[in-house]
């Protein structure tokens, strides 16, 4: 019975984590403040945000890839392999032999992601010509709720284990993708209101 409750909780966490929270626009200062407040071990160079609303955030939000906490894994050819949740993370991130080998069909490749993101501070496009055996896109957001402590723990564990893999010599890339609404998009006041209303109606309920 205990195991069933635990399993239910683990599955439900990402859904309930979105409850009772009002989304708002963020900037690099709010990201830094959140990282500092919750002592997230994130390194600045790995943090990215969506480039703009129309061509970046919207396609994400219309896809199934705007979930948090979630990791999306790509192989060396940039093909999508699988998504990792807090249920599968221990097995998959500690031992890459357990990652799915065959790419998922009909899923967007890594280019879909990297063409839509910029560094959260510099605003520079993602531009890394190096080939990696695996790329891990770690979705995270600045949520404040009863589950924040658990979410922070999950993101920290994920990032730390990936850093350990890197230090061990694994040829991997980590992209910490903050999926919040961004001030950097410079939307008009009307558009900001429209976006906030829609996001809070569809995500906040």
């Amino acid at each position: 019975m205990k195991k069933i409750i635990l399993l239910f909780y683990l599955i439900a966490l990402p859904i309930f984590a979105q409850k009772e929270y009002t989304y708002n626009f963020k900037n690099s200062d709010s990201l830094d403040a959140y990282i500092e407040k919750y002592e997230l071990p994130f390194q600045e160079e790995d943090i990215y945000i969506t480039k703009d609303f129309e061509n970046s955030f919207r396609p994400y939000s219309e896809s199934k890839f705007l979930r948090s906490p979630r990791i999306y894994v790509f192989n060396e050819e940039g093909q999508f392999l699988e998504s990792i949740t807090n249920i599968t993370s221990e097995k998959k991130l500690a031992n890459f032999k357990k990652l799915r080998k065959r790419p998922e069909k009909n899923e967007p490749s890594l280019d879909f992601w990297t063409s839509k993101i910029v560094h959260y501070k510099t605003g520079n496009d993602y531009d890394d010509p190096k080939n990696y055996d695996y790329t891990f896109v770690v979705n995270w957001d600045l949520i404040e709720s009863e589950q924040t402590a658990q979410l922070v723990e999950i993101w920290s564990e994920w990032y730390n284990v990936l850093l350990r893999q890197k230090a061990k010599g694994e040829n991997i890339q980590i992209i910490l993708l903050n999926i919040d609404l961004q001030e950097r998009w410079e939307l008009s006041p009307d558009m900001r209101r429209f976006v906030l209303e829609n996001v809070n109606r569809s995500w906040g309920e």
Partner: protein, 172 residues
Amino acid sequence: MKYLFIISFLFTACYSITAQNAVFKTNIQLMELEELKEEIFESEKEYKIAFIFNQFCPDSRDIFPDLDKLYKNSTQKNFDLFVVTNNKEKKQQDLEDHLFYYGYEEPFYIIKDKPLLGFFKKTILNICDSCDYKEMGYSDFIVFNENNEVLVQTNYNQTKEEHISILKKYMQ
């Protein structure tokens, strides 16, 4: 003076790069029960802590991050920690993955001749014949002094907070 500053800067920079990229290593040893007993009893530390662990037990998983913090933050190192796990020898990789995922560096011991039945009874009685194994569960532990006398034996009626407070006392 200028050179001294440059050298110390380079040293600091190199050190922090090394620290960031330090390769993490798990610490798992395969051992027979008798060898484990010898290992514990031959330790000359002030305190010897034998902690009973189960990778899939929520209580073990729950307490371990706190134990890990105490282990990593201990300054005096006046103790030896022996984490005795019930993983089978052939499941060593699963344990490796678990420790790697959480960054646990503590010394873990897999019992080579792990009994099919009565892991608790045989393991605990082997290292502490005066201990009441029926009172103990996963995440319980025994503290021995340097003369191998039992100072503390925890039991499953105690809370996690009680366990941590005892560990704090001995893991300095």
